[in-house]
């Protein structure tokens, strides 16, 4: 095992707890805990939002997907970044001006409906858990890959560190922690990639898609994970889990029947096997889903005013876009230096394994390997901290009903409550498909909160009945699709596409039901809608 990994992980955890404790010195009131007393500058806030947003799916998952499927999955990073543009164009400034703190708060401010508030609470908790479970699982899997320790310890360690930190420091401390973790994550990918590209140059720029197919760069021993058949030169050979196969340098990488991966032109060129429907569904989910993620929205309330919320979002878009240039390079270089992952199917580990594989087992490779592992830990810690803060905030105000005169102790109780369920789930449901669940969380958010926010901010005609019907129809359909995908039997053909990538039909459904429902119940348009619109859109400098 790499001797630098454990010290670097310990440093990340200590610095996280340290900054949390430092922030604690400033967190005195409940307001500090919840919204950092709305006094965080745009640059700090932008780094914090980016740090919170770049999860395991971004840090590990994208490179793994690129390694496996090639150009088609580049829509994931593009969509993850473009989500912030949609947020900027339609939501950022008015949402901040609404003065609400959580999504249920927004429902209350805009539509004065306690029923809608309760529905929104259910969706916030559902999306929060859906997103939190895979983060903890990812932590467990990384722990197993890097240290050889048990999955349980990794998930439990990250869960406990995050819960303690959120419960003690709340949002104020989390802002500093998240900002630090953005820069850590960027460094952890950017520094090794420089050495990796230099190594690739000095190796004589080996082709990413050689004519003869993908080959092993060095002599490699591969341990088969599942019973499967392997295609050697057109001949199918059966192998069993645990079999060890050794390939000499330059040998072609055979296809394993249990691992879906693309080779040659399929990998290099767009539109190989994904239908246009699936691609557009993914684009819709990621472009519109970001604005509905509770842990992203909650951070906009920490801006001092609407204009700074807008500028913060623009900085976030730049920071996130900068980060997403890097995972693609890892996926592409992984094609040359870690092709054995295409046989084991553990492609998500490419970021963790690539530095040592490409630079050899020397000191440099080990140090850089430890650096990317520290970055991965930062990814789990920051996203799960943000998610936990937002879910705890909603539990605090809407389940414990502590919005008036709630104490810091109540917030800590809410944090513990919000952490227990996802932690238990992540320990007991360890075989859930990680990257797919993250994509589904985007689909649920895009089909529930996106229409609610966009119509609520821009359309006077929205009513509480229409909004509730739209959220229940669109979000409910997406939720059902998620449950069928995760728990149900494997599907084939059109149903598989409709259920596996639901956003292309659930988002229009939610918008349509919301508009039609509101038109039918136009008597129920809130009387003070004019005042609300004024508050959402007029610049604060007017001091109305």
């Amino acid at each position: 095992m790499n001797p630098y990994v454990v010290p670097s992980l310990v440093v990340v955890v200590l610095v996280t707890v340290g900054i949390g404790a430092y922030g604690l010195r400033f967190a005195r009131t409940t307001s500090d805990f919840l919204v950092a007393s709305r006094s965080v500058s745009p640059s700090w806030n932008a780094a914090a939002i980016s740090g919170e947003y770049l999860s395991a799916a971004s840090f590990l998952g994208i490179a793994g997907l690129v390694l496996r499927y090639g150009v088609d999955v580049l829509w994931y990073p593009v969509g993850f970044a473009a989500g912030y543009l949609a947020l900027l164009l339609f939501v950022a400034a008015p949402l901040r001006r609404s003065g609400a703190f959580t999504l249920p708060d927004f429902c209350e401010v805009r539509l004065r409906s306690p029923v809608l508030r309760r529905i929104a609470t259910v969706f916030v908790v559902f999306i929060g858990c859906l997103y939190l479970v895979p983060q903890l699982q990812g932590a467990g899997l990384t722990f197993t890959t890097v240290t050889g320790g048990s999955y349980w310890w990794g998930a439990l360690l990250v869960g406990l560190v995050v819960t303690t930190n959120v419960a003690l420091g709340g949002m104020r401390a989390i802002t500093f922690v998240q900002a630090f973790q953005y820069w850590l994550k960027l460094t952890a990918l950017a520094v090794p990639v420089i050495f990796l590209v230099l190594q690739w140059q000095s190796d004589g720029r080996p082709a990413v898609t050689p004519q003869a197919g993908t080959t092993f760069a060095v002599t490699t021993t591969v341990t088969i994970q599942q019973n499967a058949t392997i295609n050697f030169d057109g001949q199918e050979t059966a192998v069993r889990a645990g079999d060890e196969l050794t390939f000499p340098a330059g040998a072609p990488v055979p296809r394993v029947s249990t691992v879906g991966a693309h080779f040659g032109a399929d990998w290099l060129l767009p539109g190989s096997d994904k239908s246009l429907f699936a691609t557009y569904s993914l684009i819709l989910a990621t472009f519109l889903g970001t604005m509905g993620l509770p842990h992203v929205l909650v951070r906009f309330y920490t801006n001092p005013d609407g204009a700074s919320a807008r500028r913060t979002t623009l900085v976030v878009l730049a920071l996130v876009g900068c980060f997403y240039l890097l995972p693609t390079l890892y996926g592409v270089l992984g094609r040359i230096y870690t092709p054995q992952l295409l046989m084991t199917g553990r492609t998500d580990a490419v970021v963790l394994l690539l530095p040592e594989a490409a630079l050899g087992g020397g000191e440099l490779g080990r140090v850089l390997g430890a650096l990317v592992t520290a970055g991965a830990l930062a990814a789990f810690l920051s996203t799960s901290s943000g998610l936990l803060t937002s879910v705890a905030g909603v539990v605090f105000t809407d389940v414990l009903h502590a919005d008036r005169g709630g104490s810091v102790r109540d917030f800590r109780l809410a944090t513990a409550l919000a952490a227990i369920v996802p932690m238990a789930l992540s320990l007991y449901v360890s075989d859930m498909d990680v990257s797919r669940v993250v994509g589904l969380a985007f689909a649920v958010a895009a089909s529930s909160f996106c229409p609610l926010l966009v119509l609520g901010i821009w359309w006077r005609g929205l009513t509480d009945v229409g909004a509730a019907a739209g959220v229940l129809a669109g979000g409910g359909a997406a939720m059902a699709a998620v449950l069928v995908t995760v728990l149900g039997p494997p599907l084939t053909g059109w149903p598989a596409q409709l259920i596996g990538q639901p956003a292309a039909w659930t988002v229009p459904l939610a918008f349509a039901v919301m508009v039609i429902g509101s038109l039918l119940t136009s008597r129920r348009i809130p009387r003070e809608v004019g005042a609300t619109m004024l508050r959402l859109h007029a610049p604060e400098s007017l001091r109305l």
């Binding site: 473009a82 912030y84 900027l88 876009g321 240039l325 821009w458």
Partner: protein, 135 residues
């Protein structure tokens, strides 16, 4: 110093308290601008002003999202209709990789920058209408 005093009604002949206000302040208060009051009191004029602002901001957001929809959203269709685009290489990189993996991000940031610029201008225009010297 020019000040003025007010005799509160119902105080008889004994002016117990006198309120003295500086002339400049009084003058400013006297010409409190009507548009500001229209907004605060939700008169039809104020309502129309806010509707105008909302419409301008929404039109801007929709126009820029159409730029993104045509710029990025049309790419899967383009790749499906004209698969040869995928074979074009620029500095040794296939065009789809370059477009999606690298160029899409500065494009998104550029659109975002333009939005922030124009949205702030819309708000300045709105503020100018409310605050214009209405005499």
């Amino acid at each position: 110093m020019c000040g003025w005093s007010v005799r509160l009604p119902g105080m008889g002949d004994k002016p117990a308290r006198t309120r003295v206000v500086l002339g400049e302040v009084a003058a400013r208060r006297a010409t409190a601008d009507p548009a500001h009051a229209d907004l605060a009191e939700q008169t039809p004029v104020g309502e129309a002003l806010v509707k105008g602002l909302v419409r301008a901001q929404l039109a801007l957001a929709i126009r820029l999202s159409l730029v993104v929809v045509t710029g990025l959203g049309a790419l899967p269709l383009l790749f499906a209709v004209a698969p040869r685009v995928g074979h074009v290489t620029v500095v040794g990189i296939n065009l789809p990789w370059l477009l999606l993996g690298v160029l899409s991000f500065p494009f998104l940031v550029g659109v975002g920058w333009a939005y922030v610029h124009w949205a702030e201008r819309n708000e300045q225009d709105f503020t100018a209408v409310i605050r214009r010297p209405d005499r």
